[in-house]
Every structure is written in structure tokens, then in C-alpha cells.
């Protein structure tokens, strides 16, 4: 091995001397000191990718109450640690600045959004469900008992959890809303 001291360990020198620039000779003191941010994570949640239905395992790294990284879960027999471009970008999905965190309200015929606090919005929505249900209630339809409302409909995405779909179907059915649909139809 020719050379001594730090210049000889300088990656460029090592690569010029024929060592593989994609292997050991790419390392420097700086790269040796680099640490993955996943190392400092306070907690790691075991999750599942929210895009397609393959169901790849994800590890969600959290530090200081913030998501610092999302990576593939090597334990998963489905994905063996791999993620596709979307799954690999999913930290951006949950942290991107375009995410809305406030309730917005547009009044009838309004030309812009207004702010509304969440509790008020929930009360207003409950009022509307109860009123519309009562106004559009059908006890019978062409002489047959139907006990329903055709005035309230719902369309749900297929990235909802089973538990969420369950409460939705349960509540809507009790309310008599039957036009309950999902991406699965589409």
C-alpha cells in the first residue's frame, strides 16, 4: 500500500490509484461521521404504506414529536423492506406544507373560504344531518316500507381503515342513509 497519512486516505487519491469509487474508496472522514437520522429516533411506529393494496411494511421514525423518516420494514414478508417511489416519499405525504390543518367553511353563494372552529363545524354538520334526514325521510316507497332517507349520501375513499368504514356504515345505516358508496365501486 503506497502512501501514508491523510492525503493517502483522501478518496480522490484512492480512486485515482484505481480503487473502486463506488466502494470503500468513496468513504471520507466526513461520510464516516454521518449518522442516519433514524438512529436518533425516540420511537419507531410499525405501519403500512397507504398507497396501493400490496400492503408494504413501513417504519415511522419519530423524534421530538415529529416524523423524521419513513422507511421500508425489512421484517415484512410482503415487501422485505422495499418501498416504491410513492411509499418512499410518504414522509412528504404526512409533512408537506400543503396539508390543511384548519377547518374551512364556504357559506351558500359565498365567494371565499372562512374559518370555523372544529367544534362549531361539528355542531353545524350534526344540525344539517338531523334536519335533512327529517325533511327527506321516507317511511314507505311505492307502498313498501323503506325507512330511509334519500337526502343524505356518502362517498368514502379506500384508504380508510376497516374500523372507520365500520363506524360509517353502522351510523349511516342507523340513520337510514343508503346511498353510501366507496372507491371500491369505481
Amino acid at each position: 500500500m503506497a502512501g501514508r497519512g491523510w492525503p493517502a486516505r483522501w478518496p480522490v487519491i484512492r480512486q485515482l490509484r484505481g480503487q473502486d469509487g463506488r466502494g470503500e474508496a468513496a468513504r471520507s472522514r466526513r461520510t464516516d461521521a454521518l449518522r442516519p437520522r433514524t438512529e436518533d429516533a425516540a420511537t419507531v411506529a410499525r405501519s403500512i404504506c397507504p398507497y396501493c393494496a400490496v400492503g408494504c411494511g413501513q417504519l415511522v421514525y419519530v423524534e421530538g414529536g415529529k416524523i423524521t423518516q419513513i422507511e421500508g420494514d425489512p421484517d415484512s414478508p410482503i415487501s422485505r423492506g422495499r418501498l416504491c417511489p410513492k411509499g418512499a416519499a410518504s414522509k412528504q405525504l404526512v409533512t408537506h406544507p400543503g396539508r390543511q390543518t384548519q377547518v374551512l367553511y364556504r357559506r351558500p353563494y359565498g365567494t371565499g373560504w372562512e374559518r370555523l372552529d372544529l367544534d362549531t363545524a361539528m355542531e353545524m354538520i350534526a344540525d344539517r344531518v338531523v334536519r335533512t334526514r327529517r325533511e327527506t325521510w321516507e317511511d314507505t316507497h311505492e307502498g313498501k316500507v323503506v325507512r330511509r332517507t334519500m337526502g343524505i349520501a356518502s362517498l368514502g375513499g379506500a384508504t380508510l381503515d376497516n374500523e372507520e368504514n365500520y363506524l360509517m356504515k353502522k351510523l349511516y345505516t342507523a340513520l337510514g342513509a343508503i346511498q353510501v358508496e366507496n372507491q371500491a365501486r369505481i
Partner: protein
């Protein structure tokens, strides 16, 4: 698959590395084609011809797996003398009523039993014909006689085997060339490969996505594949099957525990006003008494007990009357028409962006603009929430913001890492997600939203009778954390079900019809067995077998391959050592193997059901398809489909090709909307090209989960259309320039990608061009990149069995340059519509 399910595709590559041959059948050349042994470009909308010709190849050359076919399918069953095929009636099956444009399926029945009494199925058919409603299909098992007359020699002219053989006799390699555009040599290579790779020692799998379902004959596409796979003995065996690659994280779960109008959890029908008087009447009509659906009283009563608890008693039909009744189709597109007509007043849109993602975007927006109130819940401000502010109809002058009376609530949602719960993936596997952080600001889960909305609604109830179902509803879950998040585990435990001892149930067989058990979804019973969240199991893959039974939990009963009884021969021995999966252990007197056997564990292969047996007891030890009332895989469907007992090739509703097989051009039972919001392309030369739509790896459906992400937006910044060099020359398009794509619904502009990946197809003497369009863009949605809405182009034509739209095959025109703006766009549309 490499494009839309890239990580799943690693297993195809593993198989290829071990010698599997991979064929890719797709209108365009993709990353999948690049990695396959063979790419077969096909005309969108012609797959039944290809699959039908493969069936014909198998039957004409007697290449079927005869032992499997005889034992496990209905090949030997005899069909009624009244049945007439499309081959006899020029594209119609017997029973067609042109007035109502529906079939009476009575003549499709199996032959009556030898004693001369009509079979249960014929009777079921009569009942069905009176109240025929595809809205209930997709649920439960069709009721047919468990043992119709048969001819085990398969030579009787009216046995299913011979009927299927005659039906597909005209589906030849020449027809494949003429209609699909696949040359005869390529077809021969495919036919040779799949037959050589099926049988005792080998199995072949078919994989599909919405390229098969989004057609006016979508259910029949899958049926054609089912016939082929049953004939080749590829169902219920490792490496076999017909694998639906679903495109959303829990779209499987969304049908199992449905937010769908026609079913209750576990594929139980929603009751129908015309059909069902009470619980007993409903149970009598909805399925057979044999096979596992025979236990449906226990499934339904346990569900009613889960929902209405103490209020549900034997005396009041367990509150069956609390369920609202259907009167026909209440599907997504009919609901949109009801919005336009002013019937629907309030609409919840939850994690969905229909003005971009559903067909006929303009109709969607006109519907929203006619509501009293709209609630949209999503991560970003999707176009469905902002249609009144910046939708395309404002630019054309069709709508004005100040004229739209819809009150809009936008509520931000929690992301997948900000809540816990289960997704059900495409292999029916429930996987629990742990919560990483709490959602910020007003962001909440849907679980939180619906639970607290339900509480607020219940506070507003009166003593009125119409409020009784909500008043008596069980609606009490532990609230956790600062936001009062309802416990998702408590909900999962309710879905699993609880026994009389107050403990979580461990299997569906424990469910009782007397009201002593509760269960929110019978097929999920066992996910909380032993009071343990089985979906949260994460035993690393290296520490268990390739079947990986201790990773998550698959319904039903943690089975990874459905109908796996068929992986063993009738005597219970594996068909071959190479393909051994589950088998009968005679010494121990039970089934065993690598997976949970999909049969009763102690039922010997030699079991013969006594006369009049009920439910699973009526199935023989050799019957693998345990949800069917006869335990057989159906090559021919005597009851259960509204557009025929066999698949026949019909052209898409919009097609530049005349159907050479039958006078009947398109599926006669297809569902269309004859209204101004839903125009169709004229069949003359105005729309000369085939248009098909698809996804890209770097985006997700309507874009709300991908367009706002910098990495993904940069990778795929702009809507483009793929055209062949020949079409580009014909239409005057230049690579990188602009094209305007026109249907009678909309005009859309896209960048032009001239590429050999789209090949002109030679059909007979005619060249047919196909245009490919991804559909991820919209005008806003918080997207870092925007573009026209591809789905504005697609027609509202539905498969009559399942009401799914024909989004994968239609016609269009393509013009060079950008689209006209404002009212000029409407003028152009009008010129195309008038011709």
C-alpha cells in the same frame, strides 16, 4: 404490475428467476413489459376474445385437468332444455326481455332433479326473475340445488362441459388476431405456455387490475378467466389463482366492511323493499341452505346484536326492521344523477376526490353544485372541495360561484401515521398500523369524526319512531388521548365479535343465530381471538415459513390461499409433492399442511352428505368451493349474473370496431344514462381512436396523495398522452407538443409523447390506433403540478352486475395544439356532438 404495484412485482421477478415465464397483456408497453418474457399488445376492450380463445384451445385439444375438472367443477352438471346460447340467438341468451332490457334467468338453470320436482334453483330463478336486481349480487351464494343431475362422461350435449365447449368454438386464433390485434404465432406461444404450465406438477396464475373490471362486461372478464383457471386446475393451489391487484391500501377492506350501498359487513345483502318482508323472509330468499352461506342467520343476527345490542331480541326480529330498504340501484353514478335532480341534499366525501377520480367529472361537479351542503374530509384541499371556486365550469361560463348555493365544510383529516387501525391488503390480509404521532390542528381521523358526529346526532334525537334505530344503536367506545379518539381496538373487537361469556370469539363457527353472540363482520371473526389483536402480529419473515401465518391476519380464519382444499386430490393427497399445500392426515383424522385448510378440519375426503343435510354438512368431503351451495367451481353460472351464464364478447359501448361474432354489438344488459349530463360518442367517424386510461408509478389515483409531494410532482410533472409514431403522423402531433383529446363529454389538453410503446394494431385489414392517458391531474388540490382532468372524457356506462364504469375502453378524437379556452371549448364540443 411493475408500474402500479412495484413492490409486489418483486415476487414475479423472483418467480422468473426460478424459471417462470411471464406474459404481459396490455395495450401499451410498460415497465412490466420490459421485464416480461413477452409483451402482447391488445386492443382495449377485447380480452374476452383472448381468454375465450384460450378456453377453446384447452377444450378443443382436451388439455383440461380432467380429474380436477370432474371432481371440483360443475362440468358434469346438466342444464335445462330451455337454455339457449348466444350462438343460437345471435348474441343474446335465452330469457331476454327487450322491453325491460333485462334477462329472466330461469332458463339458465340446471336440469330439474330426476324425481321430476323442479330444482330449488329453478324456483329461485323464478323468484329472482320477478325481482331481479343486480344490486344484490356480489353478496352471498346463489341458491342452486346441491346435487343436480350430472353426466360424469362429459358427453351429454346439455352438460356444462359440452355447452362451454360449443359456446367458445368460434373463439379462434384468427378471431384473436382480428379483434385483439394479437398475431396467431404470439397467441400460440401463450396457449402453449399456459397449458404446459398447468396440471399436477405446475400452476399458472393470472393477475389483473382495473384494466379488467372497468368495462361494461367487467364481471364477465373475470368469469372468463375463472373458466380457464378451473379447466386447467389452477384454483385453490399454490402458484395459481386469479389475483386482483387492488389499487388502494384498504379497498379490499372497504368491500369486506363495506361503505357500499348494496351490502352489509361480510357480504350480506342490504334488504330490498320489494323482496324482503322480515328477517325470516330475507333469510329464506338470500342464498341457499347448503354450503357455508347456509349459516347466514347466525351471521346476520350476530351483526344486528352488535349494532342494536340489548334492543335486538328474538321477538323483534333482532331489529331487522331498523335496516333501511333498497329499491334498486343506489350506486355512485345514480347518486350523482340524484344530486343533479335535487333528491340528494347533503353529501359526505371522505378521502375521495370524485371530480377528478370518477368518470364524467362534469356530471360530478354539476351534482355538487346542486347540493344544500357538502362535507369534504381530506389531507389537502382537493378539487372536490373547491369546485365552486375554481372548477372548469366557471371558466366555460356554465356555472358562476355566486349562483352556487352549496354550503361547503372542509375538515382536515389525519394521515395514516396519525391514527391506528387496520388496512386489508389485496390478499385479504389485515395489518394493524401503530400511531406514530397525534394529528395536529383540526386534523382528525374518520374514526373520530364519525364517532363524535354520531354522539352529536344522538343528542338531538326525539322520541319519534324514526329516531329509534339511532337511539337504540350501540355507540359507546372508550375515548383516548387529548382529542377523545375512540379506541380503534375496541371497534376491531366489536367487528371480531363477543360470545355469551363476554370474551372475544375466536372463529366464525362459534356464531349463533339465537342472539347469544355479537359480531360486526362474520368473515373477520377471529381477528381478535384470545383477546389479542391478531392483525398486529409482526413475527419477522425470517423466523417463519414462506406462508408467513404469523404476520398480520387474513380473513377468513387466517387462511392465505382460499379454497385450498383443491390443492389436494379428491382423496386428500397433494396433486404432486412439488405443489403440496394442505392434505388429509388419515392417521390423525384431520386436514393439515402449510396453511389453514379451507374446509372443516375433521371432515374426511370420503364424507358423503346425507339427504337433506344443511349448510357445510351438505358438502361432500371432495367439495372445495365451500361458499357455493353445491361446493363446485362454476364453469357455467346457472344463477347469479344478470348478463348471462357464460361470458360472450361484446364490444365496448363506444368502439370503432363492429362485433363480427354477433349482431348484438355491445352488452345488451349494460347500464347507460340517457341524459344530457351523460352524452355518448356517435359510432361514426367523429371519434376514430380507442382511448384507454391508466396510472403512473409516481402518482396515486386522483392525485391528492401525490401531486402535493415535491419528489413525485417533479418525477411526473405534467399530463401527457401516449401515441404511436404512425398516429402522430396521421393526426399531426409532435413529440413534446400539445394535443387536444376530445370525446362528447369534454376536451382535454395534454403533452404529446410519441412512442413505440403504443403500437397501432392491425385488425383484419384495418389499422386501429390507441391513445393512452394517465388520469392523475386536476386543476388544484394543493398540487405542485396541475393539469386537465382525464376522467372528464370518460363515459357513464356501467357493468350491469356491479355498476362499475367503463373507464378503460372508449373512443376519442385527437387534434394537434392546445384546447380552446372558455366558451370556445363548449363550441368545439358542440361541433363534435352535432357531427
Amino acid at each position: 404490475m411493475a408500474e402500479c404495484h412495484p413492490v409486489g412485482f418483486q415476487w414475479v421477478m423472483e418467480a422468473k428467476a426460478r424459471g417462470a415465464k411471464v406474459f404481459h397483456v396490455d395495450p401499451r408497453f410498460t415497465r412490466t413489459s420490459a421485464l416480461a418474457d413477452r409483451h402482447l399488445p391488445i386492443r382495449a376492450g377485447s380480452d374476452i376474445v383472448l381468454l375465450g380463445a384460450l378456453i377453446n384451445h384447452v377444450l378443443a385439444n382436451e388439455l383440461d385437468f380432467r380429474e380436477y375438472v370432474l371432481a371440483y367443477t360443475n362440468a358434469a352438471s346438466l342444464v335445462s332444455e330451455d337454455f339457449r346460447d348466444t350462438e343460437d340467438l345471435d348474441g343474446l341468451f335465452s330469457g331476454w326481455d327487450p322491453e325491460t332490457a333485462t334477462y329472466d334467468p330461469r332458463s339458465w338453470a340446471y336440469e330439474s332433479t330426476p324425481e321430476g320436482r323442479p330444482s330449488e334453483q329453478a324456483e329461485g330463478g323464478a323468484r329472482h326473475a320477478k325481482t331481479a336486481g343486480p344490486d344484490t349480487y356480489g353478496a352471498r351464494g346463489a341458491a342452486v340445488h346441491p346435487s343436480p343431475p350430472t353426466d360424469p362422461t362429459l358427453t351429454h350435449p346439455r352438460c356444462v362441459y359440452q355447452i362451454v365447449k360449443r359456446h367458445f368454438a368460434r373463439y379462434t386464433p384468427e378471431l384473436v388476431e382480428q379483434l385483439c390485434g394479437i398475431p396467431r404465432d404470439d397467441f400460440a406461444e401463450l396457449a402453449e405456455a399456459i397449458t404446459a404450465n398447468s396440471g399436477r406438477e405446475r400452476t399458472t396464475a393470472w393477475v389483473y387490475s382495473v384494466g379488467w373490471t372497468q368495462h361494461s362486461v367487467g364481471a364477465q372478464y373475470i368469469r372468463t378467466a375463472s373458466i380457464l383457471q378451473l379447466l386447467l386446475g389452477n384454483m385453490g393451489r399454490p402458484g395459481g389463482g386469479i389475483l386482483a391487484l387492488r389499487g388502494h391500501a384498504s379497498i379490499q377492506g372497504s368491500t369486506d366492511i363495506p361503505t357500499l350501498f348494496n351490502i352489509l359487513p361480510g357480504y350480506l345483502d342490504m334488504p330490498d323493499a320489494g323482496r324482503h318482508e322480515g328477517l325470516d323472509h330475507y333469510l329464506e330468499l338470500e342464498g341457499g341452505s347448503t354450503g357455508f352461506w347456509g349459516n347466514r342467520r347466525a351471521y346476520l343476527v350476530s351483526l344486528l346484536k352488535a349494532w342494536w345490542g340489548e334492543a335486538a331480541t328474538e321477538e323483534n326480529d333482532f331489529c331487522f326492521g331498523h335496516l333501511p330498504r333498497m329499491t334498486g340501484d343506489h350506486g355512485h353514478y345514480t347518486t350523482v344523477m340524484n344530486q343533479i335532480d335535487g333528491i340528494v341534499k347533503g353529501y359526505f366525501v371522505v378521502g375521495e376526490n370524485p371530480v377528478v377520480g370518477s368518470s364524467g367529472g362534469r356530471a360530478q361537479r354539476l351534482g355538487l353544485a346542486n347540493l344544500d351542503w357538502l362535507v369534504v374530509r381530506d389531507l389537502a384541499l382537493v378539487e372536490t372541495a373547491t369546485f365552486w371556486l375554481d372548477g372548469p365550469e366557471l371558466e366555460t361560463g356554465e356555472l358562476r360561484t355566486e349562483d352556487i348555493g352549496t354550503e361547503v365544510f372542509f375538515l382536515p383529516a389525519a394521515s395514516h401515521v396519525e391514527k391506528e387501525g387496520t388496512f386489508t391488503n389485496t390478499q385479504r390480509l389485515l395489518q394493524w398500523r401503530e400511531k406514530a404521532v397525534d394529528p395536529s390542528g383540526d386534523c382528525r381521523s374518520e374514526l373520530w369524526f364519525y364517532y363524535h358526529l354520531g354522539k352529536l346526532i344522538r343528542r338531538r334525537l326525539t322520541d319519534d319512531e324514526i329516531d329509534r334505530p339511532v337511539r337504540e344503536l350501540t355507540w359507546d367506545y372508550p375515548e383516548l388521548g387529548v382529542h377523545g379518539e375512540p379506541s380503534a381496538e375496541a371497534v376491531l373487537r366489536e367487528i371480531n365479535g363477543v360470545g355469551p361469556d363476554g370474551r372475544a370469539l375466536s372463529s366464525t363457527s362459534q356464531l349463533r343465530a339465537d342472539g347469544s353472540t355479537t359480531c360486526g363482520c362474520w368473515i373477520y371473526c377471529g381477528v381478535y381471538a384470545d383477546e389479542v389483536n391478531q392483525a398486529a402480529r409482526r413475527r419477522p419473515r425470517r423466523e417463519q415459513s414462506a406462508v408467513a401465518p404469523e404476520w398480520g391476519w387474513a380473513w377468513p380464519a387466517n387462511r392465505r390461499i382460499l379454497y385450498n382444499r383443491a390443492s389436494a386430490d379428491p382423496e386428500g393427497r397433494p396433486w404432486s409433492e412439488r405443489k403440496a399445500y394442505v392434505w388429509w392426515d388419515a392417521e390423525r383424522g384431520e386436514w393439515t399442511g402449510h396453511d389453514v385448510p379451507d374446509c372443516e378440519i375433521g371432515k374426511p375426503p370420503g364424507y358423503v352428505p346425507p339427504e337433506g343435510a344443511f349448510a357445510q354438512d351438505a358438502l361432500a368431503g371432495t367439495d372445495p368451493f365451500i361458499m357455493q351451495s353445491d361446493g363446485k367451481g362454476w364453469l357455467y353460472v346457472p344463477l347469479g349474473l344478470v348478463d348471462g351464464p357464460l361470458p360472450a364478447h361484446y364490444e365496448p359501448h363506444e368502439s370503432p370496431v363492429a362485433n363480427p361474432l354477433y349482431a348484438q354489438q355491445a352488452n345488451p344488459a349494460r347500464h347507460t344514462y340517457n341524459r344530457p349530463e351523460s352524452p355518448y360518442n356517435a359510432p361514426d367517424g367523429r371519434f376514430p381512436y380507442v382511448l384507454t386510461t391508466y396510472r403512473l408509478t409516481e402518482h396515486h389515483t386522483a392525485g391528492a396523495m401525490s401531486r402535493p409531494l415535491a419528489y413525485l410532482a417533479e418525477l411526473q410533472p405534467e399530463l401527457f398522452c401516449e401515441v404511436s409514431p404512425r398516429l402522430a403522423a396521421e393526426a399531426g402531433l409532435t413529440n413534446g407538443g400539445w394535443a387536444t383529446i376530445v370525446t362528447s363529454r369534454a376536451v382535454v389538453e395534454a403533452r404529446v409523447l410519441v412512442t413505440g410503446r403504443m403500437r397501432p394494431l392491425r385488425l383484419g385489414g384495418v389499422i386501429v390506433h390507441q391513445v393512452g392517458l394517465p388520469y392523475h391531474w386536476g386543476w388544484g388540490g394543493g398540487g405542485l403540478v396541475t393539469g386537465d382532468v382525464t376522467n372528464d372524457l370518460t363515459p357513464l356506462v356501467l357493468d350491469p352486475n356491479v355498476y362499475i364504469q367503463e373507464g378503460k375502453a372508449m373512443t376519442c378524437d385527437v387534434r394537434p395544439g392546445r384546447r380552446p379556452r372558455g366558451p370556445a371549448a363548449l363550441d368545439l364540443l358542440e361541433r363534435y356532438r352535432r357531427g
